[in-house]
C-alpha cells in the first residue's frame, strides 16, 4: 500500500533520513521505532508532504506521492496525528473534527452565502459524521469543550478522531501513547485495534512505549541515525542483536 | 533632496566622462551619508525585534524627538555637535525607558495576543506625534548655520561639514555597537536574552534589566539618527513617519533582528535612493525603499542576510 524506496533527506549538513526503505501493507498495523533523533518523525513528514525528499520515491497505492503538497496527499487517503499535539486549540472538539472533513466536502463561499440545498445537506452530514467519530473515540461527552481545555489523553484521542475525519485509508500516529499512564495506553491500544478492525484502516505508528508497540504491531521497522536498522515481525526485531545494541539494549 | 552637486553646470563634451565620474562620486558620498542615518534608524528597530520579537512602531517618533532634544540644546546657545548628539541620545534613551515601562512591560505580564505590542506602540507613536505638535508647532525648524559649518572640496566633489559629522557619528556608533555586542559581558547578556530569555534567566542574566537597556539603547540610536537628519535637512513633528517606514523596510531587507543586516541594508537603501534620484527624479526617491523591499521579499523572504528559519513570527 505504502512503499518508501531509498528515501533521503538532509538538513544542512545533517543527513536526517538516509536511503530508507519502508513498506506498509493493506490492513496491517505497522510500527516505526528507533532512538530519539533517529528520523522517525521526519519520515512521517516526508510521507505527508511537509518535506520533499532529496532522493528516492514514495508511492501510495501505486501512485508516486513525493513532492506533492500535504493537502493533496491527505486527499489521496493518508492522515496523521502529531507528536506534539497540534489541535485547533480555541475551537471546540466537535469543530476540530468538522474542520478535517474539509477535503471530503465541496461547498464554497457562494453556496454558503445563498444557503443552497446541497450546502445545507453537506453541512448536516459533516456534523453527523463528526459526531459519529467523537463517539467512536469516546469523546461525545465533551464535544463543546475547547480542545485546549481537554486533558492530555483526550487531546490525543481527539487528534485521532480529527485524522479519521479526512477518511484516510492509511493513518499515521506519531507517539499516540506518549505521556499516558498504563490504563490510558491500554484503552488506546484497544482504540487503534478498532480503527483497523472496525473501520478497516491501515495504521503506521511511531511509539516509544514497547508494551504498546510489541502488543499492537504486525510488523516493525527500526530506524537509527536516519537509516533502516532492521525490519520484521515484533519477535524477530526483538531478538535482532543490532536492535538490542542500538535501542532496546539501553533500557 | 537638494544636495545634487553640479546640477546646473553644463559640461563641455570632452569632459563628459570625467564629469559623469565626479557626479557619481558625489552621489556615492551622498549615498553613504544618507544610508548611514538609515542604518542607525534600522538598528533601533532590529535591536528591539531581536530581543522582544516585536516591532516598535513608536521608533519613528522617538527619532523625531531626538532631533528636537538636539535642537533644544543648541538653542540654549551651546553650539557643539557632540553635545547636541549627546542630548539627542540621552533624551531619546529616557523616552525608550518610559516606553518600556508604560507600553511594553505591562503587556509582557499579561501575555495578550501577538498584535498587542504592535497596537500599543502605535498608540505611543500617535501620542508622541501629537505631543510634539503641541510643544513645537507644525513648522519645520533648522539648526543654526553656525553649527552646520561650511563645506570643503574633495577631488571635484563637495563634502559638507554636516556630511562629515554624520559619517563620523554614525559609523562610530555602529562600530561601538559592534564592539559592545561582540566584546563585552553586557553585550553577551544582551545576545543571550535575545536568543532565549528563559535560558538567559537561568544562567543568571537579569533579563528584565537587559530588555530595558536594549530598548533604551535602541531609542538612543534612533534619537541620534533624528538629530543627524535634522542637522542635514530640518526638524519637524512629521519627520518621524517616512524614516520610520524606511527603517522598517531596511530591517526586512537585512533580516529581522540582524544587526549587520541593518547596517548594510541602510547603506544599500541610501545608495538606491541617490541612484533613483540621479536616474529618474527626486519625486521617485521614496519608491526605491518599497520597491526594493517588495522585490526582495518576493525573491528571498528571509531577507538578504536572514537565515531561512526566521519565519517572522506568527500573527
Amino acid at each position: 500500500m505504502l512503499a518508501l524506496r531509498e528515501v533521503s533527506l538532509a538538513f544542512g549538513g545533517l543527513q536526517a533520513v538516509d536511503r530508507v526503505d519502508l513498506d506498509v501493507d493493506q490492513g496491517e498495523i505497522a510500527g516505526l521505532i528507533g532512538p530519539n533523533g533517529a528520523g522517525k518523525t521526519t519520515v512521517f513528514n516526508l510521507i505527508t508532504g511537509i518535506y520533499a525528499p532529496d532522493a528516492g520515491t514514495i508511492t501510495f497505492q501505486g501512485q508516486a506521492i513525493h513532492g506533492q503538497p500535504p493537502h493533496r496527499i491527505t486527499a489521496m487517503g493518508i492522515a496523521r496525528t502529531f507528536q506534539n499535539i497540534r489541535l485547533f486549540g480555541s475551537a471546540s472538539a466537535l469543530e476540530n473534527v468538522m474542520m478535517a472533513r474539509h477535503c471530503r466536502t465541496r461547498s464554497g463561499s457562494l453556496a454558503a452565502i445563498f444557503r443552497t440545498r446541497a450546502q445545507q445537506q453537506e453541512e448536516a452530514e459533516t456534523r453527523a459524521r463528526a459526531l459519529e467519530l467523537l463517539e467512536f473515540v469516546e469523546l461525545d461527552d465533551v464535544r463543546d469543550v475547547r480542545a485546549a481545555d481537554l486533558p492530555y489523553g483526550r487531546q490525543r484521542r481527539l487528534e485521532i478522531a480529527r485524522a479519521l475525519a479526512t477518511e484516510p485509508q492509511l493513518i499515521l500516529l506519531d507517539e499516540p501513547a506518549a505521556g499516558m499512564n498504563e490504563t490510558e495506553s491500554d484503552s488506546l491500544v484497544r482504540l487503534i485495534r478498532r480503527i483497523r478492525d472496525e473501520l478497516g484502516k491501515t495504521v503506521l505508528l511511531i511509539e516509544h512505549d514497547m508494551r504498546v508497540v510489541m502488543g499492537l504491531c504486525d510488523r516493525i521497522t527500526v530506524l537509527n541515525f536516519g537509516r533502516r536498522l532492521a525490519h520484521g515481525r515484533p519477535e524477530e526485531v526483538r531478538r535482532d542483536p543490532k536492535v538490542i545494541e542500538a535501542y532496546l539494549g539501553r533500557e | 533632496m537638494a544636495r545634487r552637486g553640479h546640477a546646473g553646470a553644463a559640461p563641455r563634451p570632452l569632459e563628459t566622462g570625467a564629469h559623469a565620474a565626479t557626479v557619481w562620486l558625489q552621489q556615492l558620498i551622498n549615498g553613504v551619508s544618507l544610508g548611514a542615518t538609515y542604518s542607525l534608524v534600522a538598528l533601533g528597530y532590529t535591536l528591539v525585534f531581536g530581543t522582544l520579537g516585536i516591532i516598535n512602531m513608536a521608533h519613528g517618533e522617538i527619532f523625531m524627538f531626538g532631533a528636537f532634544f538636539g535642537l533644544l540644546l543648541v538653542e540654549t546657545g551651546l553650539l557643539s555637535s557632540v553635545g547636541m548628539l549627546a542630548a539627542a541620545a540621552g533624551g531619546a534613551a529616557v523616552m525608550g525607558l518610559l516606553l518600556e515601562y508604560i507600553a511594553l512591560r505591562p503587556l509582557r505580564r499579561r501575555q495578550g495576543g501577538h498584535l498587542t505590542p504592535l497596537i500599543s506602540t502605535i498608540g505611543v507613536s500617535i501620542f508622541l506625534r501629537s505631543l510634539a505638535l503641541q510643544l513645537f508647532g507644525p513648522e519645520s525648524q533648522s539648526f543654526p548655520a553656525a553649527l552646520k559649518g561650511g563645506s570643503f572640496r574633495l577631488g571635484g566633489t563637495v563634502v559638507t561639514q554636516v556630511d562629515a559629522v554624520i559619517l563620523t557619528a554614525a559609523l562610530g556608533l555602529m562600530l561601538g555597537l559592534w564592539l559592545l555586542l561582540g566584546r563585552t559581558k553586557l553585550g553577551k547578556a544582551m545576545r543571550a536574552t535575545a536568543e532565549n530569555q528563559t535560558t538567559a534567566a537561568l544562567l543568571g542574566v537579569n533579563t528584565e534589566a537587559i530588555i530595558a537597556l536594549t530598548v533604551m539603547l535602541a531609542a538612543a540610536l534612533g534619537g541620534v539618527a533624528g538629530a543627524l537628519v535634522g542637522l542635514s535637512f530640518a526638524v519637524s513633528p512629521s519627520m518621524g513617519l517616512p524614516y520610520g517606514l524606511k527603517g522598517l523596510s531596511i530591517i526586512v531587507l537585512g533580516g529581522m533582528g540582524n544587526v549587520v543586516g541593518a547596517m548594510v541594508g541602510g547603506l544599500l537603501l541610501g545608495f538606491a535612493e541617490v541612484v533613483t534620484v540621479q536616474l529618474f527624479s527626486s519625486s521617485w526617491r521614496d519608491m526605491a525603499a518599497f520597491a526594493l523591499l517588495f522585490l526582495l521579499l518576493v525573491v528571498k523572504p528571509e531577507g538578504l542576510f536572514g537565515r531561512a528559519h526566521q519565519a517572522g513570527g506568527k500573527v
Binding site: S109 | L115, I126, L293, A311
Partner: protein, 327 residues
Amino acid sequence: MGDLLANLLNPYNLQLVMLIAINCLLGLSVWVPLSAGQLSLGGAGFMSVGAYTAALLTLQAGWSMPAAILAGAALAAALALLLGYPTLRLQGVYLAIATLAFGEMVRILALNLRITNGALGLAGIPQMVDEVSWYLWDHTSLGSGQGPLDPHTAGSLIILGVLYVLLAAAVYALLRQAGSRVGRALRAIQADELAARAMGIDTRYYKLLVFTQSGFLAGLAGGLYAHLYYFIGPGDFGFTRAIEMLLYVVLGGMQTLWGTLVGASALTLLPEVLRFSASYRLMIYGGVLVALMIFRPEGLISAALVDALSWRRRRPARALPPGEGAA
C-alpha cells in the same frame, strides 16, 4: 421636535453616519484576512485603487456611479489576487511589512502619475447625495418644498440607506462564510497552518481567497468614499489610513466580525466626542490605545461576550465540566 429632527439630520451628522458605514467596510477588509491569520496592511492601497478607478471612470469616462464603483472594487480585488501570489509564503511580520510597502508604492504612484493628478488629487468628483437630490428635486414634490424634508436631506437619507444595505450584505455574506466549511478552513489556518495543511486544507487557495475578498471590500469602500466627498488625494490613502483600518479591528476585537463593526464605529465617532479638547484629542486617542492593550488586549468585543449576548442559544465552546482537570 421638528427642530430636534432637523438638527439631528444636519448634513454634517448625516455624512458622519455614512462615513461609519464606509469605515466598517474598511475594517472588514482587514478582518477577513486576519480571520485566517494573515495580517495585511495593504488595505489603504486597495482603497486607493478603488477610489481613483471609480472617480476617474465617473469624472472622465462618464460611467454611472454604481458601475464605476463596482469596477473600482473589482480592479482592487484583481490586484489583491495578483499581490497575493508572490506574498503567499510570507508570514507574520514579513507579510505585514510587504503589504505595507505595497500600500506605500500605490501612494507614491498616485503622487507621481499624471492621470491621478499627482499631489493635487482629483477634485470635482460627482457626489452620490447630490445625484439623488437632483433627481428628487426634478421628479418629486419635495422639490417644491411641500414634503416633510428638503431634497438634500432626503437624498442623504437614501444614500445612507444604500450604504447600510451594502454593509449589511457584506456582513451577512461574511457571517454565512464564517459558519461554513470555508470559515472552518480559515479558522484552522489561523490556529495552526501546518496542521491545517495536514488535514487536507489547501492553505494557498484560502489565503488568496481572503486576500481577494479583502481587496474587493477595500476597493468598494474606496469608490464609495470618493463619491461621498468631492475630492480625493494621495494623502487620503497613506500609512495613517492603513493603521486606522487595523485599529478598527484590533480595538473592536478580532475574534468576531462584530468587534470590527463596533471598533470602526467607535473610532469614527471618538474624534467627534473628543472635540471639546481638540488639541489633546490625538494624545487621548493614543493613550486609550495603550491602556486598552494593557487592560483588554482581546479588544472591546470578545467572542465570549458575543456568545453571552447571542439571542439564539447556540452552544458556545465551553470550559471543562467540573471534576475534569486539564492535565
